[in-house]
Subunit: 646 residues, 2 copies
C-alpha cells in the first residue's frame, strides 16, 4: 500500500511539471503569434502598430481568455493557517500532513487584505511571474544589448546633453510627477476615496521615479528602421538608456528613504542618506560593470596575442563574453548594488574595448546572440504586460488617480524636455531645434522598466493602485505614441533615410572643403571628457585592444620596455585603421562652419531613398546632422586621423 | 512602526535575490574556469582530460569548498511542524506567523528519514537544483542539438544497426544490469546490509534502465575532433542519441509499473501495461516532435516563397525556429509524453526539412545558437555533477552495491555490443569489424541522462544508493574512458583524420570507376526504409522544402493543378542541387565492389594529416568506410543524382 501511495505522489509531482509546461506553452504560443505578426507588418510596411504593441495586444487577449475561460480549481488556497511555534518565516518549511512530510519554500510575505486575492483560479496564479524574474532574467539582456549597441561616435558628440537629460531630466520628472500626484492624493483624501490608506509624499515620489523611466524599445525600433536623423536618434537613445539606470537607482533610493519620526515631515538626515545611497549605488554599479568589461577585454586581448588564438574557437570566446557580462550583473546584485546599471555600463565598455579584440566570427556571434536574447526578452515582457491586465488579481482602478497620473506624466515630460533643451541650447553651438524637442516630448513612452519597477512591490493598496495606473499608462503610450511615431515624424518634417556613416563622411568632406587649420583646438566646456578621451586613446585602447597607436609612441621613453611588452604586434601596422575613433565636436569651430555646410549639397540624402521631404532651409540651419565637425587630432601619435574615415 | 517593519521585510526579500545571485555566480565562475581550461587544453592538444571531465573536476573542488568552508546558518530548517487541519499538501500555503501572513510554495514530499538531511547548511541546500531544471531546461538543448547535428547520409546508411543497438541493446542492457544487481541485492540482504529497506526486482530494473543511457557528449567530441572513421562515429552517435530516448521512456515505464498484489511476483497484466506505456509514450513523443518540425517547415516554406521572404528578417526566422522547437518539448510534456524524445525527433526532422528552407544567414544563426546553448547546458550539467558529490546531503555509499554496479555495467555493455554485432554482421554485407566493436564497448560512458534520471527521485534509501552509485560510475567512465579514448583509438588502429565528404566522393569515384549499371537496384532487407525514402524524396521534400524534384513530375498527371500550386518555383531549376539526398547502401552491389575499392588508393587520407597509421589490409577489407556504395537513383525525375556529389 505504501508503494502505491508513493507512485501516486510521483504522479502528482509530474502534474506539477506539466502545469509549468502549459504556462510556458502559452507564452511560446504568444511569441510565435507575435513573430508571425511582426513579419506580416514588416512585409506590408505597416507602422501604425509596432511589434511591442502587437505583443501587448496578444497578451491582453490571452489574459482575457485565461481569466474568463478557465475555472477556479484550487479551493484549498486562500485559507490562512496558524502556526504559534514559529517566530519568523524560515526559508524552507517542513510540514507534517497526515503523516507525510512536505517541503515548502518561502515565496513572499503578503498583506492580510490580499489574502482574498489568492482564492480561486490556480491558472491565474501560475501565470503571474515572480517580479524577480523581470529583474534577474528578462531585463539584463535588454539593457546589456542597449549598452552594447550604443553608437559611440554620435553618443560622445552629444554626451553633455544626454547626461543632462538623463540625470537632471529624470530628477525633474520625478519631482514634478511626485508633486502633481501629491496634489491629486490630497484631493482624493478630501473626497474620502482613500479609505484611510497611508499615502505619503515619499510614496508619490516613488511613483514619480518609476514613472520617469522612458522606454527605449518602441520608438527607437521605428527610428532605426526609418534611419531618422542620427543626432535625434542618439539624443533619445542615450537619454532613455541612461535614464533607465537613473530611474532604477532613484526608485530604490526613495524606497529605502526612512525618516525617523513623522513620515510626512522633511528629515534632512534621511534625505541626504538617500542622496548618498543614490550616488554610492550608481557609482558602485558603474565601477562593477566597467571593471568586468575591462577584465573581459584583458582576457580576450591576452588570448588573442600573447599566448595563442582564442579566436580559433569562437564558441569559447562567445561563451566567455556572455558569462563575464552576466557575472557583472550577478556580482553587482550580490554586492547589494544594482545589476541592471552594472550590466549597462558593462555593455558600453565591452563595445568600446572587448569588441575590438574579438575575431570577426565572434563579433558576429556575440552580436547575434545578444540581439536574439534581447528580442525574446523584449517580447516576453510586452506579452506579459498585456497578460497582467487580466491575470493580476489585485488591481485597484481609481479614475482620479489614473487621470492625475496621465496629467502628471505629460506635464513632467514637458518640464523635462523644454526647459532643459532651452538651457542646453544656451551652451550648445548647434542648437537642438524645435521639431526635435517636440519629437522628444512625444517619444516619452513608458515601458518595461516602469512596469518592472511597479510590479516589484504590489503589497499595499497604494502600490497596487500605482501598478494598475502604470500598466494603463504603458498601454496608452505604447499604442498611441508608438503608433503615432511615423505620422509625427512626417508632420514635424524630421529627416529620415540617413546613413550615419555617410553623414559623417559628408561632414568630413565639407570640412576639408572649407580648408580649416587642423590645430585650432581650443579649450571648451567638454574639457573633462577631452582629457579622458586622450587618456583612453593613448593608453587604455593600446593596452586593452589592438587599435590605437602603439604604446611605444605614447608612453615616455623610459617606459619603453614595458610598452613593448604590452603593445600588440598588430598595433604598429594597424594604427591607421582605428575605426572606433570617437569624434568630438569642437564647438568653437562649429559656429563658423554652420553656414558654410548648410549650403553644400548633401549626396547622402539623395542616395538613400527617403520617403519624406528632407526639410526646409530653416530646419537645415539648425540641424545637428549638417553641422561641420572637426576631428580631435592626436598630436602625440603624429598621424592625421582623417584617414580613419575611409 | 508598521512602515519600518515593511521596509525590513523588503530588505529580507532583496536578501533572497542576492543569495540567488551568489549561487549563479558560483556556476558562472566554474564555467569561466572551464572555458579557460578548455582553451588551454585545445591549445596544447591535450586530450587525456576532456572538457567535460574538467568541468566535473572543477565542480568537485567547488563542492568541497562549499561543503567545508561555509557554515551551517539556517537553524530553523530541520524542524517538522504539525498541521492537523490540512488533508493534503496544497500548491501554495498561507501561514500566519506572529500576525504576518507568509506565502509558501509546495516544493516536494520528503521521507521521514531524510528530514535530518535538511538540517544545517543553507548554502548546500541552495546549491541543490530542482531535478526538474535538468529535464526542462538543461537537457532539451543538448538533445535537440544532438538530433539537429545528426549526419543524415551516414545515419541512414546504418539505420538498421543503430535501431538495433538503441532499442534491443538498451533492453538487453537494462535486463542484464537488473538481474546482476538483483543478485547483489540478494547478497546484501543475506549479510543484512539493507536494514529492512524494500528493494524489489523492479527497483533493480529501474536502476538498469537509467544506467543504460550512454552519453553522447564526451567520446563523440573527441571523435569529432579527430575525424574518426565516419561509420564508427555514426554508429556510436546514433546509438547513444536514440538510446537516451529509449532509456528515458523505459525508466518512466518501469517507474509506473505497479503490480496489484505481491510486488515481487510477476504480474502479466501490469507488465503488458508497462510495455504498452513504453510503446505509446515513445510513439506519441515521436509524433509530437515530428509534427512540430513539419509545421515549422511548412511555415518557413510558405514564408519563403508563397507570400514573401521571412528570410529577410533572419532574427524572426531564428526566433520562430527556436520557439517551435521548444514548443514541441513543452507540448509533449503537457500531454504527458516525454519532451526529451519529442525534441530529439523534432531536431532530426528540422534538420531534414526546415533547415533547407532557411536563408543562409538563418542557417548559420540557428546552428550557432543551438551550438551555444548546447555548450552551456553541457558544461553546467557536468559542473553540477561534480558539485553534487559534496553538496547532495543524502548520499549512501554502499561498497558492495557500487562494486556490483560497476560489474553489471560492464557485463551489460558487453552483452549489448558483442552479441548484437554478431547478429548484425550476419545480415550486413559490410561487417562491423572487431576493432569497432571493441571501441563501442569502450565508449559506453554514462553521463548527463543517467545522472538526470537518477536525481529525479532520491527520496527512499534505495534510490539514494542508486544516485550515489550512478554519480561514481559517471565520474569513473568520464575520466577513465573519456581520457583513454585517444590511446584506445591508436591501440585499436582505427582510422582518424577523415573528411566525411571526401569519403563519400572517394566512394563515388570508385563506383564510377567500376562502371556499374545504374539501374540494378534489387529488393533488399531495408525495403521499408526504401519505400519511405521514395515517398519522402518524391512528395514530402518537394512539399516541405525547396529541394527534390518538382511535384509536377512526381505526382500523377491529374494532380497537376495541385502540384503546380505546391511546388516552389526554385524546385524546377534547383533539382540538380539536392544536397541532402540520402545515400542508401545497396548491399547486393557492395559485395562485388568491396574487393575493388579496397585496392584503390584513397586520396582523402593523404590529404588530411592523420596522426595515425591508417590501418592494415585486414582492417581495410572489412572497413565500412571503404565499401563501395551505389546511389539510389530517382527514375521518375529522370536525373542521375550523381551530380549531387559535386
Amino acid at each position: 500500500m505504501e508503494k502505491l501511495k508513493k507512485y501516486v505522489s510521483v504522479k502528482d509531482e509530474d502534474q506539477f511539471y506539466h502545469q509549468g509546461a502549459v504556462e510556458l506553452l502559452v507564452f511560446n504560443f504568444l511569441l510565435i503569434l507575435t513573430i508571425l505578426t511582426i513579419w506580416l507588418f514588416k512585409n506590408h510596411r505597416f507602422r501604425f502598430l509596432h511589434e511591442t504593441g502587437g505583443a501587448m495586444l496578444y497578451g491582453l487577449v490571452m489574459g482575457l481568455i485565461i481569466r474568463y475561460a478557465t475555472k477556479a480549481s484550487d479551493v484549498e488556497s486562500g485559507t490562512v493557517y496558524e502556526c504559534e511555534k514559529l517566530k519568523s518565516g524560515p526559508s524552507t518549511l517542513l510540514i507534517n500532513i497526515t503523516n507525510q512530510v512536505y517541503e515548502y519554500q518561502y515565496k513572499r510575505e503578503i498583506s492580510h487584505h490580499n489574502v482574498n486575492g489568492h482564492q480561486g483560479n490556480a491558472m491565474l496564479q501560475k501565470m503571474t511571474f515572480d517580479p524577480s524574474i523581470f529583474f534577474n532574467i528578462l531585463l539584463p539582456p535588454i539593457i546589456f544589448h542597449a549598452g552594447y549597441s550604443l553608437k559611440k561616435r554620435h553618443f560622445f558628440r552629444n554626451l553633455g546633453s544626454i547626461l543632462t537629460y538623463a540625470f537632471l531630466g529624470t530628477a525633474v520628472s520625478c519631482v514634478v510627477i511626485g508633486l502633481i500626484m501629491y496634489g491629486f492624493v490630497k484631493a482624493m483624501v478630501h473626497i474620502s476615496q482613500l479609505k484611510g490608506w497611508e499615502f505619503h509624499f515619499t510614496d508619490c515620489l516613488f511613483f514619480g521615479s518609476l514613472m520617469s523611466a522612458t522606454d527605449p524599445v518602441t520608438v527607437l525600433a521605428i527610428f532605426h528602421e526609418l534611419h531618422v536623423d542620427t543626432d535625434l536618434y542618439t539624443l533619445l537613445f542615450g537619454e532613455s538608456v541612461l535614464n533607465d539606470a537613473v530611474a532604477i537607482v532613484l526608485t530604490y533610493s526613495i524606497s529605502i528613504y526612512s525618516p525617523k519620526e513623522n513620515p510626512n515631515a522633511f528629515d534632512a538626515a534621511a534625505f541626504f542618506q538617500s542622496v548618498g545611497n543614490f550616488l554610492g549605488i550608481f557609482a558602485g554599479s558603474f565601477a562593477m560593470g566597467s571593471s568586468y568589461a575591462v577584465v573581459t577585454a584583458l582576457i580576450s586581448f591576452m588570448h588573442l596575442t600573447k599566448f595563442t588564438k582564442l579566436c580559433e574557437f569562437p564558441m569559447l570566446e562567445t561563451g566567455l563574453f556572455f558569462l563575464l557580462s552576466w557575472s557583472a550583473f550577478l556580482s553587482a546584485e550580490a554586492a547589494g548594488l544594482t545589476g541592471i546599471v552594472a550590466v549597462l555600463f558593462c555593455g558600453v565598455t565591452q563595445a568600446h574595448y572587448t569588441y575590438n579584440n574579438l575575431s570577426p566570427d565572434s563579433k558576429m556571434r556575440t552580436k547575434q546572440l545578444f540581439e536574439f536574447m534581447n528580442f525574446l526578452a523584449e517580447n516576453v515582457i510586452f506579452c506579459y504586460m498585456g497578460l497582467a491586465l487580466f491575470t493580476f488579481q489585485n488591481h485597484i482602478f481609481n479614475p482620479l488617480f489614473i487621470f492625475g497620473a496621465f496629467v502628471a506624466v505629460f506635464v513632467a515630460r514637458a518640464c523635462n524636455i523644454y526647459p532643459l533643451s532651452f538651457l542646453l541650447n544656451l551652451g550648445r553651438k548647434q542648437k537642438i531645434p524645435r521639431n526635435f524637442q517636440h519629437m522628444m516630448m512625444f517619444s516619452g513612452l513608458r515601458g518595461a522598466i516602469a512596469f518592472a519597477l511597479a510590479i516589484r512591490d504590489t503589497e499595499s493598496p497604494p502600490k497596487q493602485m500605482m501598478f494598475t495606473t502604470t500598466l494603463l499608462i504603458v498601454f496608452f503610450t505604447v499604442w498611441v505614441f508608438g503608433g503615432g511615431t511615423t505620422p509625427m515624424l512626417t508632420w514635424l518634417q524630421i529627416r529620415v533615410g540617413i546613413d550615419p556613416d555617410e553623414d559623417l563622411k559628408t561632414e568630413a568632406a565639407s570640412q576639408s572643403a572649407s580648408n580649416l587649420d587642423k590645430s585650432t583646438t581650443k579649450a571648451e566646456s567638454a574639457w573633462l571628457f577631452r582629457i579622458w578621451y586622450g587618456f583612453d586613446h593613448k593608453y587604455l585602447k593600446p593596452i586593452l585592444t589592438h587599435t590605437g597607436p602603439p604604446l611605444t609612441t605614447t608612453l615616455p621613453e623610459w617606459c619603453n620596455p614595458v610598452a613593448r611588452l604590452l603593445t600588440s604586434p598588430s598595433a604598429y601596422s594597424d594604427q591607421l585603421k582605428d575605426d572606433d575613433t570617437d569624434y568630438i565636436i569642437n564647438n568653437d569651430e562649429l559656429a563658423e562652419n554652420c553656414e558654410l555646410s548648410a549650403h553644400i549639397p548633401v549626396p547622402a540624402q539623395d542616395k538613400t531613398g527617403s520617403t519624406q521631404a528632407t526639410g526646409k532651409e530653416d530646419i537645415h540651419e539648425g540641424d545637428l546632422g549638417l553641422g561641420g565637425y572637426k576631428l580631435q587630432l592626436d598630436h602625440t601619435a603624429g598621424q592625421p586621423q582623417l584617414t580613419s574615415l575611409a
